[in-house]
Assembly symmetry: C2
Homo-oligomer: 359 residues x 2
């Protein structure tokens, strides 16, 4: 990708792996082509026999901005990463291959997360200096959005990997949200220096050094209490904590939403009240819905891979395509590589030796 910029390349969409099937993905493509400014080309990867009629059904068969790349196989949600990687004719592996071969700029998939991470890492390779890719996800709050990184790629993340995540997360936040030098917080269980696990105190030393070198905008350790307040933009944690946190929040939202809905519909008077106050509920949905920022990027690879929830509907997939394009435009890879290289130099320096030696 030397002469053309990354955003000139099409986005490849794995059309088969999601829970709602290819019809939802085609509907998402339709929406994206209508709504996302500057989206020039989409490649829908999947079974031609199914995708052809679906495209025709919504008039996309004659749209030059979209084409099908035939891939007859599908990777199921329960398949093991290693096994599924062998399915070279699957929609996911084919979509990744398009990017690896330089035919597409990014992949969007709502398929099996484990398979996507495993295959993407093998096929797209890590950025120079990065040890492991990390999954990042944007969580909306009242006055700001925060990026949680790692949301589950590496259950056991070393201090150095956590420091890489701070760099990767900062670059992605700037690209996706448009805020430069986002505030980075290290998620832990007490904000006094020296509190938390050994991994945390070591990571804190690394992040402080990266902050002093101007590579990241490091705030310091933060507690769970701070996450939804407008304190940190990039919340760094290991993939075990991050994954549990993200899924628990989702479970909590579901429980709150269902209970409120039932309570509001319980009597005619409450129903009337709900009707009159409906603007408030719509505003709530708009503020807290992950719709606009769906698509969790697997950061630290040579190309952009966006994972959306297995049960993603057309709006989620549309947003992932939009965020994909936005991120490609920002073309963050060059700066990230410089920052990682500089960061690795700092973390190897004699002053950091006591930390590095133990990782």
């Amino acid at each position: 990708m030397s002469s053309r910029s990354a955003s000139d390349y099409p986005i490849a969409v794995d059309a088969m792996g999601g829970d709602l099937g290819p019809a939802e993905v085609v509907a998402a493509a339709h929406l994206a082509l209508k709504e996302v400014k500057g989206l020039n080309e989409l490649i829908l990867v999947g079974d031609e026999g199914q995708l052809g009629p679906l495209l025709k059904g919504c008039g996309l068969d004659t749209d030059s901005r979209v084409r099908i790349c035939h891939a007859p196989e599908v990777i199921g949600m329960k398949e093991k990463p290693k096994e599924s990687y062998k399915k070279k004719d699957s929609s996911m592996i084919t979509a990744l291959k398009l990017v690896a071969d330089g035919e597409a700029g990014a992949v969007v998939s709502c398929g099996n997360t484990g398979s996507l991470m495993f295959s993407a890492t093998l096929m797209l390779r890590k950025l120079p200096g990065v040890e492991r890719p990390a999954l990042a996800t944007i969580i909306p709050s009242r006055d700001h959005h925060f990026l949680l990184i790692d949301a589950g790629a590496q259950p056991e993340t070393s201090p150095k990997q956590l420091a890489h995540n701070a760099i990767l997360g900062s670059a992605y936040y700037a690209a996706a949200i448009g805020k430069e030098r986002p505030r980075v917080g290290l998620l832990t269980i007490g904000t006094e220096e020296g509190k938390g696990t050994k991994r945390i105190t070591e990571t804190h030393d690394f992040l402080k050094a990266l902050g002093e070198a101007g590579i990241i905008n490091y705030l310091g350790p933060i507690e769970g209490f701070d996450t939804f307040k407008n304190v940190a933009d990039v919340v760094v944690c290991d993939g075990f904590t991050g994954n549990i946190l993200l899924k628990t929040l989702e479970s909590c939202y579901g429980s709150l939403k269902e209970t409120l809905k039932d309570e509001l519909m319980a009597t005619p008077m409450r129903k009337l009240g709900t009707f009159l106050a409906q603007g408030a509920f719509k505003a709530m949905k708009k503020t807290f819905s992950p719709d606009n920022y769906s698509g969790a990027p697997l950061l630290g690879l040579n190309h952009l891979v966006l994972k959306t929830h297995g049960s993603s509907d057309r709006y989620f997939i549309r947003s992932a395509i939009r965020i994909g394009l936005e991120t490609l435009r920002h073309d963050m890879d060059e700066q990230v590589q410089k920052d990682i290289e500089k960061g690795n130099g700092i973390m190897k320096a004699p002053a950091m030796a006591s930390v590095s030696a133990e990782n």
Copy 2:
């Protein structure tokens, strides 16, 4: 405590350590004596000069069920655990001493968590066979309540300690909620056997063995998605994850609540709607409020210690007193000791040797 049962002993309340001061604690005592059936005696521990007039103010000075134990010093929220332990005349240390000396059955404190854990562990000692105490907290959901253990006492919890937490949490859940043989889930990032960290797979082996021996009712690994569904009653995790989870949920609730309130009050029509639907909001508050189950016990010690939030109001403290009495009545220590002993035997058995050797 041989002839008298544990619930015959008074409950000692640290009246000075909370953010809202002794007046709120006295108000809580007043409420508790009025509302909590079978509550025979409370000892308010703190500065006599402040507590005397407060008791008089609400007519409790002539109530034989309440007495003051003078303790002139206060441990501040920012004091270091080790330093604060030396304040023998502080309300917290004095309250713990009442229990250690057999004068009270339980302690309720909204003071400095670190100090309380440190001093309670030293003064009340661990139950035989238990390696480390754990902080447990009840989280309300739509159709059930779940107990999160450990909520922050041990940031790095070994598989054996996690197994102890499953036993301790099960006993406490039965005592506080009244449900025998609660379902125990191990919180992790994927429910297939072998997924997650090494610590998790080892803990799973222990819990499975404890389940097969009938010591706990073990469900298996659960994901964050399952927490708010009616799947597990006792959710076992390390103190690092648990603390971050609990505080993030609190931060999330605060953000949702404030936003909804502002949106509902934004226009006259929404205000009217809110008035008509107010029953729904009250019901939500009742379902999800931690009011009724406030007070996080520090489990695994020889006596009961309940920590309530630093900012606890009278209702929270009242509930902690009620839960304290309930738990004392259940007199769970004897059974817990048997279960821990049996569990330790199982975890030491040759079949478990490969696991035990590494801890």
